[in-house]
Symmetry: C2
Subunit: 563 residues, 2 copies
C-alpha cells in the first residue's frame, strides 16, 4: 500500500530523538522528551486537559472498533475504581483468523530494517503523547490512580519506558552491520573472500499480558521492544484495564497503516468475563515472546508452560526498607510517608516491611525508640494525608475488592501503629479511598513471619522489630531470596551497615535506594537511568530495560557467499 | 592473597587485543590473534609440535591433580578413538564441598570489574594458546579428529570463540556506566539530584556440559562468557573427552591464582562411569547458568527441568543443501565432497540432506541428471579420499560405536551412490576410519522420509530427489521448522530460487551459505564474523556469539542516593 508517511520523513522527524535516547541509556543522566507538567499539553497538536477529558467522555458507552480481522463479537464490562461504568466495547477475536492475519505483514516489517522500525515506533509514541490527557483519564478510570499520577505515570513516564525499549532494541540490532567483507589471508595463495549479509529476524508474535494497576507503564516496554525488533504484537489487557491499551493498539494500527505497513502487526485480544484467554494464547505456537506483569502464580505458570516462547515476567515481591539510623529524621519520615501513601501502596515497588531495631535508632534528633519511630511515622502519614483533597490526590482509589479485603484484614495481624481511614471522594462517591495501615510485628515471633514474609499488595506496611542491623540485613537477604523484591531501601549513617546492606543487594540482585529524604522515592524509577527490577531475584526475571530485555526478541541470520 | 600478576599488568598486556576483538565483532571482518599454521608455534614461549606431543605423552597414565576442594576420589577411563588408552585420572568432587568453595571467591571476582575479568580471561586464553600443540593431541585423542583439525579447530579456532565470548561479555557489561549523576529540573525549585552506582553482578555458578566431538570449541564460549561476567564456572566434560577441558580448568586455576583470585572460581566435575552427574548438577540451586552441547533429548530435558538456571543449548539438527543449478559444477562437487568428508561428517554443521531435482540440474558443463549428480559427487569424494594418507588426514576416526553402527545401517536405507570404505591408519591400527556413505532417496516416498527427516549423525548423507526447486524449498522449510538446522547451503544460478531459499532461511532462522565452490565450507564458521547456529530454530536456543548469548549471564544492580 502507498505510504502517507515515508520512512525518510519519519527518520527526519524522529532520528534526533532516537539519538538522544541512545545517548541517555549510555550516560544514564536525566532525560525525557515527554513533559510531565499538565500545562505543557495543549500545544503543537496535543490535547489539553479539558480536550483530553472530552475525548475520554466521548469513548464512554461506545464501541471501539479497531477493524481487526477475525472479530467475532464485542466485549465490555470495565468499571472504574471511581465507580463509573465505562461501557466501552472492544472487538473479541477469533484467534484462528487473527493470528495468521498478524503474521502476514511481518516480512515487510522485517525488511524495513531496524531504523525504520524504530522511527515508526517513535511516531506511535508521539501520537500517544499528543493524546496524553485522554490516556490519563483512561488510566485513572481503570487503575484507580489519582489524576496526576495517572497522567504522569500512565502518560510521559510510560512513554519514556516505551521509548527506552525502542532505543535498546535499535542499538541491539545494529551491533552487527548489514554487510561485511571478510578476507582471510592464505599465505602465498589467494585469500579466501566472502561477502556476508546480516539480517535481524523476528521470533514471531509477541504477546503482552497487561496488568490492572499500570496498563501502559508496564505494557509499553514489552510492546515496543517486540515491535521494534520486527515482531507482531498481540496485546491482551487485564479485563479491568482494557481502555488504555486498546487506545494504544488503535494508535499503533493507524501509524503502521499510514507508514505503509500492515496494521495487523499490532492487535488487541480482549476477553469475555471468565474466558481466561491468556493461558490459551500463551501456549499457541504463533506466540514466541510473552511479556507479563501480574501474580507470581500465573507468572510461574507461564515460565513453566509457555515453552515455545521467550517469557519476560514481573511478578510479586516483598519490598523491604531497613531503618537503622539517619541524620535527617524528619526527611526520612516524610519520604517514607509519601512512599507508603502514593496510589494507596498499590505499586509493585511500594515498601512493605520496614525493619527497625527493637532497641531503637539514632537520629539527628537524638535516639528514637521503636515505638517512637512507629508513632512518628504514623504522624508523618497523618500529616501528609490530613487534608482530604490532598489525600485523594495522592491515594487514588482502591483498585479492587481483594485489596480492600487485605487492608481490612491487616489490622488483625498485630498492633496497629497507624489505622487506615476511609476518605470520601468529592467527585466520585463510588470510589473506595483508604489511607494506609501500618502494623507492628515482632520479627522474632514465628507467627508474625507468615505476615511479613508474604506479599500483602495494597496500603499495608509492617513495622518489623529486629534484634540488630545484622539481623535486619539477614532478614533482608532471606526475604529477597525467598520472595523477591522490586526495591530495597535503607536508612543508615553507619558505613558498615551501608556496606552490609549493599552487599546483600548485590548478592541477591535487588535495586537499592539509600537514605532518600527528599523528592525521590524508593518506589519510583526513571526511564533511561534507573532499572526497574533486576531480573535476578524471584520478583521478576527481567529488568526494564537492559540488553537482556531485548536481545532474545530477534535473531541475526547470515547469508554468505564468495566475494 | 598477593597477586603475582596485577590487573594493571594484565590490562597493559591484553587491552590492545581486547580492543581488536571489540572492533572485529563490530565490523565482522576477518581477524584472529591465534595462528592456525603449525609453524607459528614454538616461539615466544609456545610449545612446538614435538614439545606439545611430549607434554601430552607425559600426561598419559598420570593423575591430573587440580588441587580442588572436596576431591573424594579419582576417575579415569578415557580411550582414544585412535585406540590409545589415555589412563589419565581426574579428581572426583563431593559437590557439597566443591560448590560452596566455588562461591567463596565470587565477591572479589565481581568487585574486580568487567575489564579486569576480561584481561584475566585473555591471559587464560594466552596460556592455552601457548600449549596449543599439547591441546591438539588431547583433542585428537578424545574427539577422534585428525591431527590438523584437532590442532586448528581445537586450538586457535576454539580460542577465537572463547575470546569472542569475552569481547561480547565485556561490551555488554560496560554499556551501563559505573556511575551516573542524575539531575532532574523542577522548575523554580531546586533540581532533584541523585548519584547512582551500577554494578554488574553474576548469577551464580555456570555449568558447562561438554561434548565428545568438540570439547574446547563448543566448551569455550559458555565457559568464558560466564567467567567474564563474574560467575564461577564448573566444567562437566563428556566422559570420553575429559582431558582437553581438564587442562583448560588447570590453566584457568593457575592464572586466577596468579592474578590474586580464588582458583576455585573454575573447577572440574569429572564423573564415574554411569554416574550421570549432569542431571544432578543441572538442578542444583547453586547452578544458575548452563551451557550444553549434545543430544536433543537431554537438551530438551535441561530446558524443561533446570528452571533455576539460564540454559543455552546446542542440540541436533538436520542440515540441508539445495542443489538446483550451478555455474561451477566442478567447484561445487569438490566443495561438497570436502564438507561431507571432514571429520567423517561428525560435525553438527555437516550437510545431511542434499536436495536435487529428480529431473536434474543445469550446470556450466551442461544439464546433469539426478543420477549423474550422484555419480559425480561420489567421484569427487573418491578423488578427495583416494589417497589413504590424505583420507586419514581429513577423516579422523569414528568417535564412538554408535556412529559406526549408524554408518553401517545407512547403506540399507536406499540405493547407495557412494559406499563407505574402511581405511587403515598407519600409526593407530585401533582407529576406526571410514569414508562417507551417500544414499539416494526419493523425497516423494513416505518410507524415505523417516530417514531424511531424522538426524543421522556421522558420515552419512542422503541425496534426496525432489520434484522442483519449489518442492526443495518447502522441504527445507519443514526440515528446519521440525528438526532444526545449524547450517543450510544452496547452489543456484536462479535469482528467484536464491530469493526463495533465502526467504525460508530468514523466516525459519537458519544460517545460509550460497554457492560455495572454493576453500570455505558450509560446515565451518569463523569467530568474530560468522554466527554459529541462530538460536531461532530447534537445533539450538542460542547462537555463538551474540548479545543474547551474554546478556542474561549477569544483572545490573543500581545503588542510588541523593547527591
Amino acid at each position: 500500500m502507498a505510504a502517507e508517511l515515508t520512512a525518510h520523513e519519519l527518520i527526519a522527524r524522529h532520528r534526533p530523538t532516537l539519538d538522544q535516547a541512545l545517548d541517555a541509556i549510555r550516560t544514564r543522566a536525566y532525560w525525557s522528551p515527554h513533559p510531565e507538567h499538565p500545562k505543557a499539553y495543549g500545544e503543537n497538536g496535543s490535547l489539553d486537559m479539558a480536550a483530553g477529558k472530552a475525548a475520554f467522555d466521548a469513548l464512554l458507552g461506545a464501541r471501539l472498533d479497531l477493524d481487526q480481522p477475525g472479530t467475532d463479537g464485542w466485549v465490555d464490562g470495565e468499571t472504574s475504581p471511581y465507580g463509573v461504568d465505562l461501557g466501552v466495547s472492544y472487538p473479541h477475536a477469533d484467534l484462528d483468523v487473527l493470528l495468521p492475519a498478524m503474521k502476514a505483514g511481518m516480512r515487510a516489517w522485517r525488511d524495513a530494517g531496524a531504523e525504520t522500525r524504530a522511527v515508526v515506533c517513535l511516531e506511535i509514541l508521539k501520537r500517544i503523547s499528543d493524546r496524553t490527557m485522554e490516556f490519563a483519564q483512561a488510566v485513572m478510570h481503570t487503575s484507580g490512580q489519582a489524576f496526576m499520577m495517572a497522567f504522569q505515570a500512565g502518560g510521559p513516564h510510560a512513554q519514556d519506558r516505551g521509548m527506552e525499549a525502542v532505543a535498546y532494541a535499535y542499538v541491539e540490532q545494529v551491533r552487527t552491520p548489514d554487510t561485511a567483507e571478510w578476507t582471510k589471508p592464505q599465505g602465498k595463495r589467494d585469500p579466501l573472500a566472502l561477502t556476508k549479509r546480516f539480517v535481524p529476524v523476528p521470533r514471531g508474535i509477541g504477546l503482552v499480558i497487561g496488568c490492572n494497576t499500570f496498563p501502559t507503564w508496564n505494557g509499553y516496554p514489552g510492546l515496543f521492544a517486540s515491535l521494534a525488533t520486527g515482531n507482531a504484537v498481540l496485546v491482551k489487557p487485564h479485563p479491568r484495564a482494557v481502555l488504555p491499551l486498546a487506545l494504544t493498539v488503535q494508535v499503533a494500527r493507524q501509524v503502521l497503516a499510514e507508514a505503509g505497513f500492515d496494521p495487523n502487526l499490532v492487535a488487541l485480544a480482549a476477553e469475555r468475563p471468565g474466558e481466561g484467554i491468556a493461558k490459551t494464547l500463551a501456549t499457541r505456537p504463533e506466540i514466541r515472546i510473552i511479556d507479563y506483569t501480574g501474580s507470581t502464580e500465573f507468572g510461574d505458570w507461564l515460565e513453566s508452560n509457555a515453552r515455545q516462547a521467550k517469557v519476560y515476567t514481573e511478578k510479586a515481591g516483598v519490598n523491604t526498607v531497613i531503618v537503622e539510623s539517619t541524620d535527617d529524621y524528619k526527611g526520612m519520615l516524610s519520604n517514607l510517608a509519601f512512599s507508603l501513601s502514593l496510589y494507596s501502596g498499590q505499586m509493585c515497588t511500594t515498601p512493605q516491611n520496614l525493619l527497625v531495631p527493637r532497641d531503637g535508632i539514632s537520629t539527628d534528633q537524638g535516639p528514637k525508640s521503636f515505638d517512637e519511630v512507629a508513632a512518628d511515622l504514623a504522624k508523618a502519614v497523618d500529616g501528609l494525608l490530613g487534608d482530604d483533597a490532598r489525600a485523594n490526590a495522592l491515594l487514588g482509589a482502591i483498585v479492587n475488592p481483594d485489596v480492600k479485603a487485605r487492608l481490612e484484614a491487616a489490622a488483625g495481624l498485630g498492633e496497629v501503629a497507624l489505622a487506615s481511614r476511609e476518605i470520601t471522594h468529592p467527585d466520585f462517591p463510588g470510589a473506595v479511598v483508604r489511607t494506609p495501615v501500618v502494623v507492628k510485628l515482632d520479627g522474632a515471633k514465628p507467627d508474625a513471619e507468615a505476615a511479613y514474609m508474604s506479599e500483602c499488595f495494597g496500603p499495608v506496611s509492617f513495622l518489623v522489630a529486629v534484634d540488630s542491623a545484622a539481623d535486619a540485613t539477614e532478614l533482608l537477604r532471606r526475604t529477597i531470596r525467598e520472595k523477591g523484591a522490586m526495591t530495597v531501601g535503607a536508612y543508615t549513617t553507619s558505613p558498615e551497615v551501608e556496606e552490609a546492606v549493599q552487599e546483600v543487594c548485590l548478592e541477591e540482585a535487588a535495586q537499592l535506594s539509600l537514605n532518600l529524604t527528599g523528592g525521590v522515592y524508593v518506589n519510583q524509577t526513571a526511564a533511561f537511568s534507573d532499572f526497574h527490577g533486576s531480573g535476578g531475584n524471584p520478583a521478576a526475571n527481567a529488568a526494564l530495560c537492559d540488553g537482556a530485555f531485548v536481545a532474545g526478541r530477534f535473531r541475526v541470520i547470515e547469508v554468505r557467499r564468495e566475494a
